[in-house]
Symmetry: C2
Subunit: 169 residues, 2 copies
């Protein structure tokens, strides 16, 4: 059995990417797939949370009184409106958050972290951070980590030009 | 409304990552979320395929006669066995692939690309490649792209130590 890499660009079919460009893209893609997959698998196994749960719980846990407007969550997650709404419905059923219609404008709602939600994120975060340290931070020297940060920003800026509605951090 | 970045490590709660390490991690994470999200959204809108569909269709389209053992697909996708099985069931219902029990060993099956599956990946690939070029390759200089490839490999090697069963490309 050959361990062929997953190819995102089919050989010989297009000339959109050169062979060198394809190789670097695949190296990045493979790393990204495995890193995010492994973090997600461990978060699920160790804390019963998905990465999207985490994306919602962390900003809530940092907000005053564990409360954010749904429009603020939209901005920080950078998700489609319908995706956020569906995900919040599932999280509400699991008791991690509750939604409250705003008193000043009934068209909008606030999202509140429950006690159970705070317990979940408080338990999950240190383990998750330890994995990020072990698999990402410690794989590189401090200089390499800074370089990766800079290269990441260049790509994010490029993406920002393609989708100006989504805020660049 | 503030555009607070999605934080994966809670401030003041752990000392697992320094402030600088957190910052670089978030830069990488934000880029990765947006790049992969944007590629997935365009693949879906333009070709009706998900990224996991793509991960399965491309190696099949490159295999002789569009046929791979399911164990080979397991190796190239680096997925859990149950995840692959469920995904193949869905793809078979959509007419993109068919499964055949192997004549030499009925415990295993082959996965075959259908004509419809080949048409889907042939139509999707050039558009997908153009997005990779525009949002990833052209965001960086050739030297920066090579550096990103090298840093990616270092992280993948580190992940390989954590999960030795999954092949490193």
């Amino acid at each position: 059995m050959t361990h062929q890499p997953v190819t995102y660009i089919m050989d010989g079919m297009t000339d959109w990417l050169t062979e060198t460009e394809q190789r670097h893209w695949r190296r990045f893609l493979s790393m990204q797939n495995r890193l995010m997959g492994q973090l997600a698998a461990h978060l699920q196994a160790e804390a019963g949370l998905s990465m999207p749960d985490y994306d919602v719980l962390v900003p809530l846990s940092e907000a005053p009184a564990g409360r954010l407007r749904s429009t603020e969550l939209l901005a920080v997650t950078c998700w489609e409106k319908s995706r956020l709404a569906h995900h919040l419905t599932r999280m509400e059923k699991r008791g991690l958050i509750v939604r409250e219609t705003r008193a000043d404008d009934s068209r909008y709602s606030d999202v509140l972290l429950t006690q159970q939600g705070r317990a979940a994120i408080t338990s999950a975060a240190p383990k998750h951070a330890a994995h990020v340290r072990s698999w990402f931070v410690e794989a590189l020297t401090p200089e390499e980590l800074a370089t990766l940060g800079e290269l990441s920003d260049k790509i994010t800026e490029r993406l920002g030009e393609a989708t100006p509605t989504c805020p660049i951090d």
